[in-house]
């Protein structure tokens, strides 16, 4: 097996459906043992990219290599080293969780004994043991996603594609999914994740590629991107308008916005820790009481606003 520095490499990837150009020259590389997040709104081309990288979809021009294998000429080699978790849980509803795992393991060419042992191990790891012998159609949304991810890990492939693994999950299931993904990363798996949520990319990924309209519009670490994109904001709420007035007078230019109806003031912070501390100390020295405070991170909307100069693209339906 090739052991290059980059496990996934796409160069100038283009794909059209008729006159509809879905990908307009995507370049991306995922370094061994790291996670790259592909961040973008619906219809940006995330799913199309993942489908091409995982051999499911042909493309018009460019080159794609996974573990050094060309996806066009050696698709079977590629399929042997990747695991894919798509947007819709790709599991067999009538089979039990365990049967799903063993079946997929066998199709990955694991021996029967190996597939069974590994299925048991994954059921334990993903807290699915209690439901292991129930048909998957009885599973909750979170359980389905966990089973789906477990299925793609059955043969411990060195490369994993996660296409919006937490879309549609409730916050608790999302956190559970994140911790599973973090464990995967700790085990040295190379991961390409797509997401609509900046927070998810921020929490998990080593590097982020932002795509919109089939083009890469920004690339870097979460910190780099945020610095480029927008700053954290501290929102302070005061008990009354008079206190608000004193705070605004005190903090002066640091305040970018204040609202007398809600008695709130918004402060831009560069370094969350020290700036917040400094602001609070400043206020408490003058005995200005705060009712509540909240820190706002830049959102995907901010990213898009700043990178493209337009609001986040309106949903254009399913990209396929």
């Amino acid at each position: 097996m090739a052991q290059g520095k980059y496990v996934v490499e796409a160069k100038d990837l283009k794909k059209s459906y008729g006159s509809n150009e879905v990908l307009k020259g995507i370049n991306l590389r995922v370094e061994r043992g790291t996670m790259l997040a592909l961040l973008g709104p619906n219809g940006a081309g995330k799913t199309t990219t993942v489908r091409i990288l995982s051999t499911l979809l042909g493309f018009d021009s460019g080159t794609v290599k996974v573990e050094g294998y060309d996806v066009t000429t050696e698709p079977d080699k590629v399929r042997g080293v990747i695991g894919l978790t798509g947007q819709s849980a790709a599991i067999d509803e009538l089979l039990t969780g365990r049967e799903n795992l063993v079946m997929m393991g066998r199709l990955y060419r694991l021996t029967s004994a190996s597939a069974k042992a590994r299925a048991q191990e994954l059921l334990e790891e993903f807290s699915l043991l209690d439901a292991a012998d129930r048909p998957a159609k009885t599973y909750s949304g979170g359980m389905r996603r966990r089973l789906d991810l477990a299925v793609s890990l059955i043969a411990t492939p060195p490369v994993i594609f996660l296409d919006e693994p937490t879309t549609g999950l409730d916050p608790r299931s999302r956190l559970a999914m994140w911790s599973i993904i973090k464990e995967l990363m700790a085990a040295g798996t190379t991961i390409l994740l797509t997401t609509q949520y900046l927070e998810e990319a921020d929490q998990l990924a080593d590097r982020i590629v932002v795509i919109d309209g089939g083009k890469v519009i920004a690339e870097g670490t979460a910190t780099e991107l945020k610095a480029k994109v927008g700053k954290d904001r501290l929102e302070l709420t005061f008990t009354d308008t008079q206190t608000l007035g004193r705070a605004v007078a005190l903090l002066g230019k640091k305040i970018i916005d204040s609202d007398e109806k809600e008695n709130t003031a918004t402060v831009v912070i560069k370094d969350t820790n020290s700036d917040v501390k400094e602001t609070l100390i400043h206020l408490s020295k003058e005995k200005i009481a705060i009712q509540s405070m909240a820190i706002h991170k830049p959102t995907l909307d901010d990213v898009f606003l700043s990178l493209t100069g337009k609001q986040k693209t309106v949903e254009t339906g399913d990209e396929k």
Binding site: D76, A89, E99, L107
Partner: protein, 269 residues
């Protein structure tokens, strides 16, 4: 990772075959777990059998040779009709797989893609065998008296096997082409219903008008029905035997590669 994974090292062709077995096991489990469908596979043929025998029996018996009861005449037709309808389950199963993400999963695996179709087609054979057996038993209970020898029964099984296989592969094509499961149900209905009724499955061709009759006596389902009927009643089989077999093999030769090609094409876009 704790478990040391061991991979199969057998030759590629054997692995492709094993993929098909895994898929047959999967579809087989579907048959058992899909209770509504399973109940249908048991009761629908019995319902048809009893209804036809009791509703048409009296009227049609007059058109039959005096030593043949309508039930004995009907049995071959209803067995073939059940097999034809049963085969459409392949279309539904294939369409279902395509609608859900599971085909993408299969395609991202280093497996043989056609195994998915093989699984559905072969498991259809199992279910149809069960339906046929149930119906034969029900027939015996209400007065069906076959004159077939053990060899005849083997021939009957062989013809039905080929017929189901051919129809299931046709059905796989419908499943790939259809846009929804409802579409499949509608399509198979308008294809299978006229084909089985415009044949000698339920009535002798003599009473049909000339155009319909010309179609009915020459179409494949009639040959299959007549071959099975001759074997059941112990009457001369004529040309029907080899025509039935040739039709089935001909359909298989066209439908198998066509379904596989369409399936590949559909799933790579």
């Amino acid at each position: 990772m704790a478990t040391q994974l061991v991979f199969e090292t057998r030759p590629k062709a054997i692995l492709a075959l094993s993929d098909s077995f895994i898929m047959i096991k999967r579809s087989g489990r579907h048959i058992i777990r899909n209770r509504d469908q399973l109940l249908g596979a048991f009761f629908q043929p019995i319902m048809f059998l009893v209804l036809f025998a009791s509703v048409f029996g009296g009227a049609i018996a007059k058109a039959l040779p005096h030593d043949v009861t309508y039930l004995n005449f009907l049995m071959a037709g209803i067995i073939v009709q059940t097999a034809a309808f049963g085969s459409t389950t392949t279309a539904i199963a294939v369409c279902n797989d395509l609608q859900k993400g599971i085909v993408d999963r299969f395609r991202s695996l280093p497996m043989s893609n056609i195994a998915v179709l093989n699984g559905h087609v072969i498991s259809d054979l199992f279910r149809n065998s069960i339906s046929t057996l149930v119906m034969l038993l029900a027939g015996l209970v209400i007065g069906f008296r076959p004159h077939a020898s053990a060899t005849d029964w083997l021939l009957i099984a062989g013809i039905l096997f080929l017929f189901t296989l051919a129809f299931s592969w046709l059905s796989a094509i419908v499943g790939v082409l259809a846009k929804s499961v409802e579409g499949v149900q509608w399509l198979t209905f308008v294809l299978v219903f006229p084909l089985t009724f415009a044949s000698t499955a339920f009535v002798p061709a003599e009473g049909m008008n000339r155009v319909l009759r010309a179609f009915a006596v020459n179409q494949p389902i009639t040959h299959v029905v007549e071959a099975v009927r001759a074997l059941i009643l112990g009457t001369p089989i004529g040309n029907h035997g080899w025509l039935a077999i040739s039709w089935c093999i001909g359909v298989l030769i066209v439908a198998m590669p066509l379904a596989s090609w369409l399936f590949r094409r559909k799933t790579s876009n």
